[in-house]
Protein backbone atom coordinates (compact mmCIF):
# COMPACT_ATOMS: atom_id res chain seq x y z
CA UNK A 1 0.00 0.00 0.00
CA UNK A 2 1.63 3.24 -1.05
CA UNK A 3 1.62 5.96 1.51
CA UNK A 4 0.05 9.33 0.90
CA UNK A 5 2.39 12.26 0.90
CA UNK A 6 0.57 15.49 1.43
CA UNK A 7 2.17 18.87 1.36
CA UNK A 8 0.96 21.91 3.22
CA UNK A 9 2.21 25.30 2.08
CA UNK A 10 1.57 28.39 4.16
CA UNK A 11 2.43 31.75 2.76
CA UNK A 12 0.63 35.02 2.22
CA UNK A 13 -1.37 35.33 -0.99
CA UNK A 14 -0.64 39.02 -1.43
CA UNK A 15 2.37 41.17 -0.67
CA UNK A 16 3.77 44.59 -1.37
CA UNK A 17 6.71 44.90 -3.70
CA UNK A 18 9.93 44.43 -1.80
CA UNK A 19 8.24 42.88 1.20
CA UNK A 20 9.79 39.85 2.88
CA UNK A 21 7.60 36.76 2.63
CA UNK A 22 7.81 33.88 5.07
CA UNK A 23 7.06 30.53 3.44
CA UNK A 24 6.38 27.46 5.54
CA UNK A 25 6.23 24.05 3.98
CA UNK A 26 5.65 20.72 5.62
CA UNK A 27 5.51 17.47 3.70
CA UNK A 28 4.24 14.11 4.89
CA UNK A 29 7.10 11.64 4.62
CA UNK A 30 8.50 8.98 6.95
CA UNK A 31 12.14 9.90 6.21
CA UNK A 32 13.46 6.43 6.95
CA UNK A 33 17.08 7.06 7.91
CA UNK A 34 18.47 3.68 6.92
CA UNK A 35 19.98 3.09 10.35
CA UNK A 36 17.01 1.37 11.95
CA UNK A 37 16.58 -2.40 12.25
CA UNK A 38 13.50 -4.55 12.37
CA UNK A 39 12.83 -6.96 15.22
CA UNK A 40 14.42 -9.76 13.21
CA UNK A 41 17.62 -7.77 12.74
CA UNK A 42 17.08 -6.70 9.13
CA UNK A 43 18.16 -3.17 8.34
CA UNK A 44 15.33 -0.97 7.14
CA UNK A 45 16.67 0.65 3.94
CA UNK A 46 16.99 4.40 3.60
CA UNK A 47 14.02 6.21 2.08
CA UNK A 48 14.28 9.94 2.43
CA UNK A 49 13.58 13.14 0.57
CA UNK A 50 16.92 14.29 -0.81
CA UNK A 51 16.20 17.60 -2.46
CA UNK A 52 13.80 20.52 -2.18
CA UNK A 53 13.70 23.45 -4.56
CA UNK A 54 11.57 26.55 -4.71
CA UNK A 55 11.33 28.50 -7.95
CA UNK A 56 9.73 31.90 -8.19
CA UNK A 57 8.43 32.49 -11.73
CA UNK A 58 10.99 30.01 -12.97
CA UNK A 59 13.99 31.38 -11.10
CA UNK A 60 15.29 29.26 -8.24
CA UNK A 61 15.16 31.17 -4.97
CA UNK A 62 15.71 28.45 -2.39
CA UNK A 63 17.18 24.97 -2.31
CA UNK A 64 17.64 22.41 0.48
CA UNK A 65 19.69 19.21 0.50
CA UNK A 66 18.21 16.80 3.01
CA UNK A 67 20.17 14.02 4.68
CA UNK A 68 19.23 11.00 6.82
CA UNK A 69 19.49 13.03 10.02
CA UNK A 70 16.32 14.92 9.12
CA UNK A 71 13.31 13.60 10.96
CA UNK A 72 9.92 12.59 9.60
CA UNK A 73 7.55 15.13 8.04
CA UNK A 74 10.24 17.74 7.38
CA UNK A 75 9.20 21.31 7.97
CA UNK A 76 11.03 23.97 5.99
CA UNK A 77 10.58 27.65 6.81
CA UNK A 78 12.33 30.20 4.65
CA UNK A 79 11.94 33.77 3.49
CA UNK A 80 12.04 35.35 0.09
CA UNK A 81 11.49 38.84 -1.25
CA UNK A 82 8.29 39.61 -3.18
CA UNK A 83 9.36 41.10 -6.48
CA UNK A 84 6.57 40.40 -8.98
CA UNK A 85 3.23 38.62 -9.17
CA UNK A 86 3.40 35.03 -10.20
CA UNK A 87 3.66 31.48 -8.95
CA UNK A 88 6.04 29.85 -6.56
CA UNK A 89 6.64 26.24 -7.42
CA UNK A 90 7.90 23.80 -4.82
CA UNK A 91 9.48 20.51 -5.79
CA UNK A 92 10.66 17.61 -3.70
CA UNK A 93 12.62 14.61 -4.92
CA UNK A 94 14.02 11.67 -3.06
CA UNK A 95 14.85 7.99 -2.85
CA UNK A 96 12.79 5.34 -4.65
CA UNK A 97 11.75 7.88 -7.30
CA UNK A 98 9.89 10.02 -4.84
CA UNK A 99 8.71 13.24 -6.47
CA UNK A 100 6.22 15.78 -5.31
CA UNK A 101 5.41 19.28 -6.39
CA UNK A 102 2.97 21.98 -5.54
CA UNK A 103 2.48 25.60 -6.47
CA UNK A 104 1.27 28.70 -4.75
CA UNK A 105 0.31 31.92 -6.44
CA UNK A 106 1.32 35.32 -5.21
CA UNK A 107 -0.04 38.76 -6.05
CA UNK A 108 2.41 41.58 -5.60
CA UNK A 109 1.02 45.11 -5.49
Amino acid sequence: MSKTSRTIVTMPATAKKGEILEVRIIVQHDMESGFRHTETGQRVPRDIIRDFRCTYNGAEVFRVELHPAMGANPLIVFTTVATESGTLEFKWSGDNDYASSTTSSLTVT
Partner: protein
Protein backbone atom coordinates in the same frame (compact mmCIF):
# COMPACT_ATOMS: atom_id res chain seq x y z
CA UNK B 1 4.91 9.03 -5.59
CA UNK B 2 3.03 12.31 -5.71
CA UNK B 3 -0.03 12.30 -3.49
CA UNK B 4 -2.81 14.76 -2.91
CA UNK B 5 -1.57 18.27 -2.28
CA UNK B 6 -3.19 20.83 -0.07
CA UNK B 7 -2.33 24.47 0.14
CA UNK B 8 -3.18 27.38 2.31
CA UNK B 9 -2.78 30.58 0.39
CA UNK B 10 -3.26 33.01 3.22
CA UNK B 11 -1.17 33.57 6.28
CA UNK B 12 -4.13 32.64 8.45
CA UNK B 13 -4.35 29.32 10.20
CA UNK B 14 -6.00 26.32 8.53
CA UNK B 15 -9.24 26.80 10.43
CA UNK B 16 -9.56 27.00 14.19
CA UNK B 17 -7.84 24.43 16.35
CA UNK B 18 -10.19 21.54 16.91
CA UNK B 19 -9.97 18.21 18.59
CA UNK B 20 -8.41 15.88 16.01
CA UNK B 21 -10.99 13.49 14.64
CA UNK B 22 -10.48 9.83 15.36
CA UNK B 23 -7.54 10.68 17.58
CA UNK B 24 -6.33 8.51 20.40
CA UNK B 25 -5.00 11.39 22.48
CA UNK B 26 -5.80 11.12 26.14
CA UNK B 27 -7.03 14.31 27.76
CA UNK B 28 -7.18 14.60 31.49
CA UNK B 29 -5.48 12.62 34.16
CA UNK B 30 -5.07 8.90 33.59
CA UNK B 31 -4.93 8.20 37.30
CA UNK B 32 -8.29 9.89 37.71
CA UNK B 33 -9.72 7.15 35.51
CA UNK B 34 -8.24 4.48 37.77
CA UNK B 35 -9.73 6.28 40.78
CA UNK B 36 -13.12 5.98 39.12
CA UNK B 37 -12.69 2.22 39.27
CA UNK B 38 -11.16 1.94 42.73
CA UNK B 39 -13.35 4.45 44.56
CA UNK B 40 -16.57 2.46 44.08
CA UNK B 41 -14.78 -0.72 45.23
CA UNK B 42 -13.45 0.99 48.39
CA UNK B 43 -16.81 2.55 49.12
CA UNK B 44 -18.55 -0.75 48.57
CA UNK B 45 -16.42 -2.43 51.23
CA UNK B 46 -16.79 0.48 53.66
CA UNK B 47 -20.54 0.54 53.29
CA UNK B 48 -20.86 -3.18 53.77
CA UNK B 49 -18.93 -2.83 57.05
CA UNK B 50 -20.57 0.33 58.40
CA UNK B 51 -23.95 1.98 58.30
CA UNK B 52 -25.75 2.83 55.11
CA UNK B 53 -24.64 6.38 54.39
CA UNK B 54 -26.44 8.16 51.57
CA UNK B 55 -23.87 9.51 49.14
CA UNK B 56 -23.92 11.32 45.86
CA UNK B 57 -22.73 8.66 43.43
CA UNK B 58 -21.44 11.09 40.85
CA UNK B 59 -19.23 13.04 43.27
CA UNK B 60 -17.61 9.87 44.62
CA UNK B 61 -16.99 8.36 41.20
CA UNK B 62 -15.69 11.65 39.76
CA UNK B 63 -13.72 13.32 42.57
CA UNK B 64 -12.11 15.94 40.32
CA UNK B 65 -15.35 16.98 38.70
CA UNK B 66 -15.49 20.48 37.31
CA UNK B 67 -11.93 21.22 38.44
CA UNK B 68 -10.58 19.03 35.68
CA UNK B 69 -8.54 21.05 33.21
CA UNK B 70 -6.30 20.39 30.28
CA UNK B 71 -2.63 21.21 30.81
CA UNK B 72 -3.05 23.46 27.79
CA UNK B 73 -4.09 26.23 30.19
CA UNK B 74 -0.78 25.87 32.02
CA UNK B 75 1.36 26.41 28.92
CA UNK B 76 3.14 29.66 28.13
CA UNK B 77 1.68 31.73 25.33
CA UNK B 78 4.57 30.80 23.01
CA UNK B 79 3.93 27.10 23.48
CA UNK B 80 0.19 27.57 23.01
CA UNK B 81 0.80 29.45 19.76
CA UNK B 82 3.05 26.65 18.52
CA UNK B 83 0.51 23.97 19.34
CA UNK B 84 -2.38 25.91 17.85
CA UNK B 85 -0.74 26.41 14.48
CA UNK B 86 -1.76 23.49 12.24
CA UNK B 87 0.70 24.55 9.55
CA UNK B 88 3.65 23.80 11.83
CA UNK B 89 2.19 20.75 13.56
CA UNK B 90 2.93 17.44 11.79
CA UNK B 91 -0.04 15.93 13.62
CA UNK B 92 -2.18 17.70 11.00
CA UNK B 93 -1.29 14.83 8.67
CA UNK B 94 -2.59 12.31 11.19
CA UNK B 95 -5.86 14.26 11.30
CA UNK B 96 -6.10 14.26 7.50
CA UNK B 97 -5.25 10.54 7.37
CA UNK B 98 -8.01 9.95 9.91
CA UNK B 99 -10.51 11.78 7.73
CA UNK B 100 -9.62 9.46 4.84
CA UNK B 101 -9.80 6.32 6.99
CA UNK B 102 -13.22 7.39 8.28
CA UNK B 103 -14.60 6.94 4.78
CA UNK B 104 -12.75 3.72 3.96
CA UNK B 105 -14.57 0.40 3.94
CA UNK B 106 -13.06 -2.23 6.22
CA UNK B 107 -13.91 -5.26 8.31
CA UNK B 108 -16.10 -8.28 7.64
CA UNK B 109 -19.27 -6.18 7.46
CA UNK B 110 -17.70 -4.16 4.62
CA UNK B 111 -18.76 -0.87 6.09
CA UNK B 112 -17.04 2.42 6.66
CA UNK B 113 -17.17 4.34 9.92
CA UNK B 114 -19.18 7.06 8.22
CA UNK B 115 -21.93 4.65 7.11
CA UNK B 116 -23.13 4.30 10.72
CA UNK B 117 -21.68 7.33 12.47
CA UNK B 118 -22.00 9.98 9.79
CA UNK B 119 -19.97 13.12 10.34
CA UNK B 120 -17.19 12.38 12.83
CA UNK B 121 -16.99 16.00 13.96
CA UNK B 122 -20.52 15.65 15.32
CA UNK B 123 -20.85 12.03 16.39
CA UNK B 124 -17.34 11.45 17.75
CA UNK B 125 -16.80 14.73 19.55
CA UNK B 126 -14.88 14.15 22.77
CA UNK B 127 -15.04 10.38 22.43
CA UNK B 128 -11.30 9.69 22.36
CA UNK B 129 -10.82 11.28 25.78
CA UNK B 130 -13.13 8.74 27.41
CA UNK B 131 -10.88 5.79 26.46
CA UNK B 132 -9.51 3.50 27.82
CA UNK B 133 -12.55 2.55 29.82
CA UNK B 134 -14.00 -0.49 31.51
CA UNK B 135 -16.51 -2.17 29.25
CA UNK B 136 -19.86 -3.66 30.27
CA UNK B 137 -18.21 -7.09 30.55
CA UNK B 138 -15.68 -5.69 33.03
CA UNK B 139 -12.68 -5.67 30.69
CA UNK B 140 -10.43 -2.74 29.89
CA UNK B 141 -11.24 -1.35 26.47
CA UNK B 142 -9.13 1.10 24.50
CA UNK B 143 -10.08 2.98 21.35
CA UNK B 144 -8.53 0.41 19.03
CA UNK B 145 -10.44 -2.36 20.78
CA UNK B 146 -13.67 -0.41 20.45
CA UNK B 147 -13.11 0.03 16.72
CA UNK B 148 -12.45 -3.71 16.43
CA UNK B 149 -15.79 -4.32 18.15
CA UNK B 150 -17.49 -2.12 15.55
CA UNK B 151 -15.92 -4.10 12.72
Amino acid sequence: MPGSNEMSHSDQMLGSPTTPQGSTMLRGNATARLRQVFFPCLLGTLLSLGTLLPFNASSQVDPVGSERQSSYVLMSSDTKAMQDDPTLNPATFAVLDGQVLWQEVAGKKNQSCSSCHGDAAVSMKGVAASYPKVSATGQLLNLEGRINQCL
